[in-house]
């Protein structure tokens, strides 16, 4: 199952594009996706601690524009947004 992870804020430093793509097993959860992103950081940025902390402190947003918890099951191929700690306004 292909998931397009839309990047926002500091997570934009993960790629020159504004998204990353991950292949997850059917009915994976946000927790599994977070794990995959941590693996990506490990493999592409030598386990950069700041990037890992960023992933661990990020929320995720479903295609329906809802903030979803780690238990949320991803039941179809979709875009998911990574929402790092916010600092706007």
């Amino acid at each position: 199952m292909k998931i397009k992870l839309e990047l926002f804020g500091a997570s934009r430093d993960f790629s020159k594009k504004d998204y990353l793509e991950f292949n997850l097993k059917e009915r994976s959860s946000i927790k599994d996706l977070r794990h995959e992103i941590l693996n990506f950081v490990e493999n592409n940025f030598k386990g950069n601690d700041n990037y890992k902390k960023l992933v661990q402190s990020s929320a995720f947003c479903s295609e329906e524009n809802n903030i979803v918890s780690d238990n949320y099951k991803i039941t179809k191929e979709q875009n998911i947004g990574i929402i790092p700690p916010i600092g706007g306004g």
Partner: protein
């Protein structure tokens, strides 16, 4: 009555006159304009500009939620609120956000406006990348939108 919009700096700018027009009403005796601008210093660093990033759909949803909560909390009648936030690179002194509020009385306008900006700061998915003179640009740290305990 609410107007909420993200302004892409490459296409348009935040316009105070639009806010004035939107909130104008003979039912309101007080109008407050909160205007956030880019300043030249932060944490002893010389700032040259800020790039704002946003999750547009979530931002608009958040603005509506904050407005609805404030309406319920304060129970003021005949309020008009205009919120626009910029997205993209903004130079020193330029406007990043405007919150215009019109209410019957001044105390109501102050209260409502203050509530809206403080809640936006806490929970609206907008990010800032500061650009400095002679140093690398940096994304500013912010408030996590998740309970860290759920990850343990």
């Amino acid at each position: 009555m609410l107007h909420a919009k993200i302004i892409d700096v490459t296409k348009e700018k935040i316009d105070l006159a639009k806010a004035q027009k939107f909130i104008a009403s003979s039912k309101c005796g007080a109008s407050i304009y909160f205007v956030g601008t880019v300043r030249d210093q932060n944490n002893d660093k010389k700032v040259t500009g800020i790039t704002y990033d946003s999750h547009d759909a979530l931002v608009i949803k958040s603005f509506k939620e904050i407005y609805n909560e404030a309406e319920t909390k304060f129970k003021f009648k005949n309020i008009a609120v205009f919120i626009e936030h910029i997205k993209g690179y903004v130079e020193l002194g330029e406007t990043s956000i405007i919150i215009a509020v019109a209410c019957k009385h001044r105390s109501q306008a102050y209260e409502f406006s203050r509530y809206v900006i403080e809640e936006i700061k806490k929970r609206t998915p907008i990010w800032k990348k500061e650009h400095y003179e002679g140093e690398d640009s940096k994304w500013l740290k912010g408030n996590p939108l998740i309970d860290q305990n759920q990850l343990k």
